[in-house]
Symmetry: D5
Subunit: 97 residues, 10 copies
């Protein structure tokens, strides 16, 4: 099942720059892994914001929660909106969605 997820991040005030750098590096590696496993399908940045829209694939909401809460940047995700998606007859997905 696919989910459309809108995530807003915000670093803590006075966050240690090294920690921030490490989180960013870890996050990228983690995302690449999730993409390879087929969980992260697409991701875009919202222009002008520290926010993204992503298409995610998981067995159900429980697995999606495990995936999102397992990300290195999860503690800084100040707002997460999950939209459950149903198959649409005209969807040109290049894989069995």
């Amino acid at each position: 099942m696919e989910f459309l997820v809108n995530i807003t991040l915000r670093w803590s005030d006075d966050m240690d720059p090294e920690l921030k750098e490490r989180i960013i590096v870890d996050e990228r590696a983690h995302a690449a892994e999730l993409a390879q496993k087929g969980h992260l399908v697409r991701m875009w940045r919202v222009p002008g914001r520290f926010e993204n829209w992503g298409v995610w694939r998981a067995r159900d909401a429980t697995e999606l929660h495990e995936i999102l809460s397992g990300m290195p940047a999860f503690p800084w995700m100040v707002r997460v909106d999950v939209h459950p998606l149903a198959r649409h007859a005209v969807d040109p997905a290049p894989y069995p969605a």
Copy 2:
């Protein structure tokens, strides 16, 4: 450039059932054509609603407007929200986005 578009439809009250049927058939054919041209990238139904989320590709907002307003069901799209999307470093797009 890609756009995330959220479209809500509502048929007119007392709409002729034949017209409705024809619009649905035309819309599907038109969507298939847009998918083939690379304009319609993905489309999902919002569960329980006559509403969809779609990923669209167009040169700019002007071309996107032409594409959307050229759809057979356009007169019944009562709400259209367009979110411009920027490239994200971790996007696993299977094509040059």
Copy 3:
């Protein structure tokens, strides 16, 4: 997977009273069937409104959409909000959720 669904209904203006009566009877029978199949888990009325909150079970959002759109009163559901639910460690569900 379970979903929390909030549904608002509104009959059409000048609706034929017989049709309305028939829809109500059919809806009740249909709901009883969905309960027996395990799709409709719980349902409550919002006091003072023609609106309900329900706990539904379906394989995914696609099946949920089929269930909801197959109900006799679906054409009069003017607003449907679907909240995907993840397992919580303290949930006292009397069955394997």
Copy 4:
């Protein structure tokens, strides 16, 4: 009487990790007790958030307030929305609601 309750939590900034751990352990034990007494009927996690939806049973809003304000994590519940629920004719509750 049953209530649908939506609770959002947020730990204090710079919260002592031991205190946090203790609250989590106490909260789970407390929730199990409330479930046994029939006050906590169901509970789900909102995917991607530190937020839950719960079905609660109490004599009235006064008792519900006592139950919620008596929970170990109550000081960190930054938003609590209570929806009073009325019986619905098609509710398949496995117990007298």
Copy 5:
């Protein structure tokens, strides 16, 4: 248990003036009866609107729904918001609330 209820009314377009007059008369008589039974505790008009705020008393949300849906003007109540109320330590109620 007491409830704070905010009700907005709107007559149908082209409503028969006689029917409207009859509903108003019936509503007043019905409200007086509900007040006598202790269900309607207080009622105020929102200035400039066809809307009221009321304090209602009922065993639970199920009884409140029966009371509200039994009112002559119920079909014209286009919006009803119910706020469940808990006892407050400083409430100067002139009766056992």
Copy 6:
């Protein structure tokens, strides 16, 4: 004139427990006094929140502001919504409102 007032409170972070205790005690005594003077007519707690709904009586908005801003807990009232109330023909007030 009567007013419906919705007040949300929030203690300061790291507030001195003794100060908090003193404010609570003073607030209760002050509220009892306002009730005796006929300014505080009714007060309820919003279940699960540090928030109340109250019916207040004052000559006008200026006097209401003096009453509210004179309360010991006023500096911690983070949100105050005032709804002016007009007499309703069916109000069963047990006193001349």
Copy 7:
């Protein structure tokens, strides 16, 4: 006591042009009378809309409701928001407010 009132109007669909003209004429005459009696203190048009902001004076919300509901255009006031106003120490009112 003064009130800040925001009124939005909308004529009925297919309204008789003569009726509309008469309402406009009556409304102006009525407003002039209310101004002379000191009830209507100021009135402005919201640019681009059939909406106004006004400063009104009345003994209380009950009298304000009588004034507003007695206006010829009242049946076409689709939204009325009333803000109760308290005296401000720096108000340069040219009369005893």
Copy 8:
């Protein structure tokens, strides 16, 4: 041109009481000056809040911004909403607006 302006203030946490006192005194003197110059036409307090509604006069939005940002309390104005006002035919302004 006149503007309706809604201003919400909030003192900084742990603000020096002397600074606060000085700002209040300066603000009053400054407001009196603006009233004399014809820029501040009316001002009211929102009951129960540290917020005001004011009628202001300025050549255009640029001058209004200079006036507002020149006030001693400007750094504590956490929300400012400006509504541009057009002349209304029935406005009983006691001066050429």
Copy 9:
């Protein structure tokens, strides 16, 4: 003075196609005239909607209202939001704004 204006249009149901065509032609001619007079500075279409964003120039809100309400399509402007604009130090306007 410049204003940012957001206008949403909606044709009447069952509107005469000839009338609609005439309004569109008149509107374009009228807009060209307003551009020439310096009142209409810029205009864009919101993609996927019958809605526009425009930069307008007028002496004040009263003149802006006259301009907007004098447009052929004014009766079909179902929502108009006017944002007053102040000069910004970095504005690269190619003319004296």
Copy 10:
């Protein structure tokens, strides 16, 4: 392609005045450069707020994000809303938009 962008800024609490001064100077120089390159088309201040509306030009949302996130004041932009703009038939743009 043009974008309408609404930016709200907020300096950090206890920000070093010298840093603030330097950011303001850098921001102005940077904006002048963006104007010269044709990226910043127009900019206005929202009266009474530390907020602006701007018309920006960029190849797509990705380039717009690079432009906005490259500004000296970007870390203090607490809210950025981007509206994609399509060509309108009546736009009097003094250049090929």
